[in-house]
Amino acid sequence: MTRLLLRRLRDLLVILVVVGTMMFFVIRLIPGDPALAILGPTARPADVAALRSAMGLDGSLWEQYLSWAGHVLHGDFGSSITYHQPVLGVVLEHIPPTLTLAVLSSVISFLLSVAVTSWYAVSPRNPLARALDRLSALGMAIPDFWISLVLVLVFSVTLRWLPSSGYHSLFTDPVQALPALVLPLVVLVIGQTALFVLTLRESMLGELPLAYLRTARAKGLSESRVMLRHVLPNALMPLITQLGSNFAMLVGGIVIIESIFVIPGLGHLLMGAVSTRDFPLIQGVTLFVALLFVLVNLLVDLSYAAIDPKVRVS
């Protein structure tokens, strides 16, 4: 267990270094001078040069990289050019909306998919259970940006039931926060539930031919009890993995939905940072997203080891 943990922590460090380095060089592919972007096209060249050096943008690419990496190692991510604040603070400020969406949509999708799949497993001939199960194939095919627009058209524009955009904190202002969260959550839940149902069904099917089910049936358990007490718990593992990697992707990738519904989360922040050439902010956000991504994957792996003894041994 400890060895596993240590090995994963080493991997985590390697991944962060690789991502940080790749990011540093990729964003420098973006043409445009951040100093010029701040001061505007009418700025005097001397001012631009001064700002460039203040932002650590002079010197060769290599020198810039070394100085940036040095600062990061000391916990200093630099200052955002557009927010005029330390990057770390800006990033932390934008985490709650994204995390709210990611956590809520993951939990709802997980529960929904387990409910739908177990219902189908227990009563495979119920037409509604079957229809819901089949619907998952369609749910996988819906483009999220498109269904967002359609939902806005139906529920905000035509029926006027729900706001089409906006965000309020769920903790300080739940009455205002909930209606605005409904549409983005529905969009996220549709795609995820479809994926989870397919994953869970596949893995439940994989359990069906195993011998322990014969034992369970032989001792007189009803078919639905066999499904719910024996097959389902054993089939949950792949779903947990899927849930974890999906959650990690949500944390870094709700870009489109956040921008359609104007939710001030990490994805929205990132889009803005790229369009304003806010290099320090882009670097900070990506490092953070990568960190969250590997941490969530680490947690999934550890929970795997905790649940399944076979993983611990290998």
């Binding site: 592919l29 996988m140 095919a141 483009p143 940006f145």
Partner: protein
């Protein structure tokens, strides 16, 4: 048998869509002919799917956008599948390469895809090529991982050991014995990739990171129609439903194919169907 019918029907429908996209533009009104008098018309006999804000015929744009969307998705699929296959094969078969390659793949996957796409699109100009590069890079690690796990399973079989004992070279073993056994899975992966590529391609053009207007793609048609969501909803609905239909058909083909190449999955489904009938 039922699976085969699904496969044939879904593949046939997809083939029909491809055929329409390739042939129909010849017979439809021009894609770029603007007609300010007849703008934002609802679907009618003259314009089957209505007209957009410039008075262009939506049906012709949809069909011609299909060339871009389907063509680009196919191209992305081929590139990502090929690189993923090579990386997966090498990494699954050579332990030394595996450690390095999989770490790189992990880092790659934790890199925000959209940033890469945006950086490429902004620096090189949003075009077919930047989207192709960005999406190939995004999809490669997923394919590589799937292929690798299959290679690992194949490599532990006795006949691989037998090949080594009989003096066959490592690379030749990989090509002659491992590759053919991985190929069916790779084909399934191609279909899965194509479905994913269609969705992400739609999202990219929607964000303005793909092929730029006035060349129509299904994604940028949705983006352009967004401003007229209330007055002309068909501008958004029509291309969206088209993307959905294609992805849905591809998913059907994918799952049917997988059951065709993987006997275990097939038996499982037979089992489940047996249960459906008996309980």
């Amino acid at each position: 048998m039922r699976r085969n019918r699904t496969l044939v029907l879904a593949a046939g429908a997809l083939g029909l869509i491809v055929l329409i996209v390739l042939v129909l533009p010849v017979f439809l009104p021009s894609v770029s002919a603007t007609d300010p008098v007849h703008r934002l018309l609802p679907p009618s006999a003259a314009h089957l799917l209505g007209t957009d804000s410039y008075g262009r015929d939506v049906a012709s744009r949809l069909v011609s956008g299909g060339r871009a969307s389907l063509g680009l998705s196919a191209l992305i699929t081929v590139c990502a599948a090929a690189t993923g296959l090579v990386i997966g094969l090498v990494s699954g078969f050579f332990r030394a390469a595996d450690a390095v390659l999989m770490r790189v793949m992990d880092a790659w996957m934790s890199f925000p895809a959209i940033i890469l796409a945006m950086a490429l699109a902004i620096s090189l100009g949003a075009s077919l090529w930047t989207e192709l590069i960005a999406l190939t890079v995004i999809f490669t690690p997923f394919t590589a991982r799937v292929i690798r796990s299959r290679v690992l399973a194949v490599a532990s079989r006795a006949y691989i050991g037998a090949a080594r004992v009989s003096g066959m070279g490592r690379w030749k073993t990989l090509l002659v014995h491992v590759f053919p056994n991985v190929l069916p899975l790779a084909l399934v992966q191609v279909v899965v990739l194509a479905a994913a590529a269609m969705l992400v391609d739609g999202a990219m053009s929607f964000l303005g990171l793909g092929i730029a207007p006035p060349t129509p793609t299904w994604g940028n048609m949705i983006a352009e129609g967004r401003s007229y969501l209330v007055t002309a909803p068909w501008l958004v609905v029509v291309p969206g439903v088209t993307i959905m239909l294609c992805v849905f058909l591809l998913n059907l083909v994918g799952s049917a194919l997988r059951q065709a190449v993987d006997p275990r999955a097939r038996t499982l489904h037979e089992l489940q169907r047996l249960r459906t009938r008996t309980t």
